[in-house]
Structures are given as structure tokens and as C-alpha cells.
Symmetry: C2
């Protein structure tokens, strides 16, 4: 599997390019609107055909390029059944998205938002804003729920093998990846912490809302396209 | 081999952690002073022993944590024979640094600076500021020389197998890695460009000097430690 990590420095968002090296079929996870030309250039240079755009959730801090990529490449947009209405394919727990011969398994991991998904491909886990490196997503808007997030991480993600590589949607400290084993042992919000302790910690955090919240959420429900755009529908 | 990419968002510098998973011996390539606690925490959490700090060159845009890491861990600092006088080991073309059983091969790749090294470990090339992703290091200070840089990249680095993974010291567009084959084919400064064209392009660039140039170069010649520090010497 070809895997490339890409970064948006404004929102500290990671985008992932996954591809099968034989068939050249590819998927982008959580692409960012401002980088659509960078990402299309990389696909062209690597000789890849974008078949899917996978959203981990309706983002509140940046706008997706999913709709633009669909229009420019013919890729299909994948989101949670509880996620963006503009998606071409709505998925849930246990579903599999086939990127050529690569099987991308859908894991429902709600708690940061109610539509949060993680994706597992081989030993690579794309954990969205559920599990971050030495942290977690916040739970104070978009139907976030700290108890649900604790369960998603500790029951669903931490049941994966310890050497599963963790690729989150964000990092703010300059880390790029982790493993399930590392997060079990060293994530300060989770290691040795009960569900009740996690809920109390998350409910007592006082952090400013994302600057783009009011713009990004409706834009991302339309795959990043302006209201009334002819390309909103799949 | 365990490999972690770390990032300094202020200077867009990548630091690399390399380690042998059996012996737990590790090296850091181009660590940044502001992140010394992050990097020491990661070494501790992963149960690694830092044995070497490898500098690709005397940096002009950020200050190294090499001296601090040496003092805190006992690691030895490695630099070019033309590089920082404070280093414990001065190396050149063909030398090998042994990180436990991992062989890190030294490649002299001058041109960005006269002391620029790249390091090759397995199929991973740490290309410093010589070869960047779809770009190169600048050549307008610290004895930079565009003709020398062209030769370093096209003769030395481009003679490696096409699937060699390229991990540069910087990226400013959100890319994290490339390959030798990709850069041969798609690097706009090099693909299909003659040595004379490259020299003309580099000599005609007009870009501001790094903000920290006057502070960083002398600091890095002292491994990032203040003048007169008892820990400057190895």
C-alpha cells in the first residue's frame, strides 16, 4: 500500500493518500479545500486514479475539498450515515470500502461528533478526531459526548493489536503517528483513567470554539461546495 | 527499524527519530531546541536509548538541541568534518554510524552549505537541505554553491534506487516524504534541467535571509549551547 501523509498548517489537519500500487486506485481521507491543487498534482504525478474521498466526520475547523475532488475526478464521497448529506455513499460499522484490492474497514467511533468514523486499512488506523496522539478530540459541540468517546476509543480502537499504526486527523505538537499500544500506555487522558474521570476532565475543559465552526459545519455538510452549487449532489 | 517524523511548525523543520527495535538504541536527526522536552518524552515512552544526534548541516533557521540532548542523555553528536566544531564525531563520505545494528551511511551532499550531509539507513534517505520535495535547499549563504548542489543531488542522491524514500529537513507545502524516482521525474528545478539552467535559476532567486541566520549559525556551531557553556565540548 502506498501511504502519504499531507498537512494543512493553518488547521493542523492531516490528509492521507492511500493507494494500491498495482491498480493505481487511490483514496484521500479528510482532504482540505485550500490544498486541492496540491493533492490533485500529487495524484497526477504518482499516476493514481482517485476513486474515493473518505470523510471521518463533518469537520468544524476546516472545509473539505470532497465536493471539488468529486467534480474534478469522478471520485465518490464516503461519510457516516449520520454525516454529510452530500455524500455518495453513507456507511457504518462493519462496512468495507474497496480501493482497488485494498479493503478499508469502517469503524464507528462517535463521541467527538455523533458521526465520527475511523478507517482501518491493513495495520493503519485513520482515527479521525476520536483518538489523537497523546490526546483525543474535543466533545463540546456537534453532539459530542465524552462517555461515548471513551467507549469508542477504549472498547473499539484499543481492541486492535498494539502495533496498529495510528494516524490521526490532527496534531498540534509536531507528532505524525503513534500506535495503539503507545496510546493505551501513554495517552494522559486514557491511561489508567476511568470513564468517569475522562468525562469529568472533558466536561471541565474551557477552550474557545473553532474559529470556522459556523462556516465549516454547513459547508462540510455540502461537501465543501457553496449552497446551490450544481455539484453538491453526487 | 522504528522511524518517527517530528515537526517544528515555526521553521517547518522535520526531525527524525530512528531506532532499532531489538536493542532500543536510537538516533535523532536534526532535533530542534524548542522541542527537546517533547523529544526526550518520546524517547522515554518508547523505551529508547539515544546514542547519537546526527546533524545534516549547520542550520541557519533554527537552533539545534544537540548539545542539550548530549548533556541530558550522553548521546554523541555527529556532524560533517566541515561542520560544527562542537561535535563529538566528525564524518565524511563513506563513513558509517552504527545505531545498534542499524548502519547509517554518510553521504556528502554539499551545495546548500559546504558541510551538508545526507544520511542513508536501509531504503530511507535523510536528505537534509540538499534535496527537498519538489525543491532544493537555497544556495545563497554559508558557502552555498548551486553547481555543487546540482552535482550532489544528480550524481550522488539520484544514483540511489528509485524507490529510496526521501525524508527532507524541511517542507513548506504540507508534504512529508517523497522518493528518489519521484524527484528525478517531478522536481521542477531538476527534471529535464541542465546544470547551467539550475545555476541560473538559483542565482536569480531573490528571497529574504532566514530570520534567525545571525543567531542560529554561531549557536549551532556550539551545538545549540550558549557561549562558554560547560557542556559545549563533547
Amino acid at each position: 500500500m502506498l501511504l502519504r501523509q499531507l498537512f494543512d498548517s493553518e488547521s493542523s489537519t492531516f490528509t492521507y493518500l492511500l493507494a494500491d500500487e498495482a491498480t493505481r486506485k487511490a483514496a484521500l481521507i479528510d482532504p482540505v479545500l485550500e490544498h486541492v491543487e496540491r493533492d490533485l498534482a500529487l495524484l497526477t504525478e504518482l499516476g493514481l486514479q482517485l476513486t474515493f474521498v473518505l470523510e471521518t466526520h463533518v469537520h468544524a475547523d476546516h472545509i473539505t475539498s470532497a465536493g471539488t475532488l468529486r467534480h474534478r475526478t469522478g471520485a465518490r464521497v464516503v461519510a457516516s450515515r449520520r454525516g454529510a448529506p452530500c455524500a455518495d455513499v453513507h456507511v457504518g460499522q462493519g462496512d468495507v470500502v474497496h480501493v482497488g484490492p485494498l479493503a478499508v474497514h469502517v469503524l464507528e467511533t462517535p463521541g467527538h461528533t455523533d458521526d465520527s468514523l475511523s478507517y482501518l486499512c491493513g495495520d493503519a488506523l485513520f482515527s479521525g478526531d476520536a483518538l489523537l496522539i497523546r490526546g483525543t478530540g474535543r466533545t463540546d459541540f456537534q453532539n459530542g459526548d465524552p462517555g461515548q468517546l471513551y467507549d469508542s476509543i477504549t472498547r473499539r480502537l484499543f481492541s486492535l493489536p498494539d502495533d496498529t499504526r495510528v494516524y490521526p486527523c490532527h496534531d498540534y505538537a509536531g507528532h505524525a503517528m503513534s500506535t495503539v499500544g503507545e496510546e493505551k500506555q501513554h495517552n494522559p487522558r486514557l491511561a489508567g483513567k476511568s470513564r468517569a474521570e475522562f468525562i469529568t476532565f472533558m466536561n471541565n475543559r474551557r477552550i474557545a470554539p473553532p474559529r470556522k465552526l459556523d462556516i465549516a459545519v454547513p459547508a462540510n455538510r455540502a461537501c465543501g461546495l457553496p449552497p446551490g452549487s450544481p455539484h453538491v449532489a453526487g
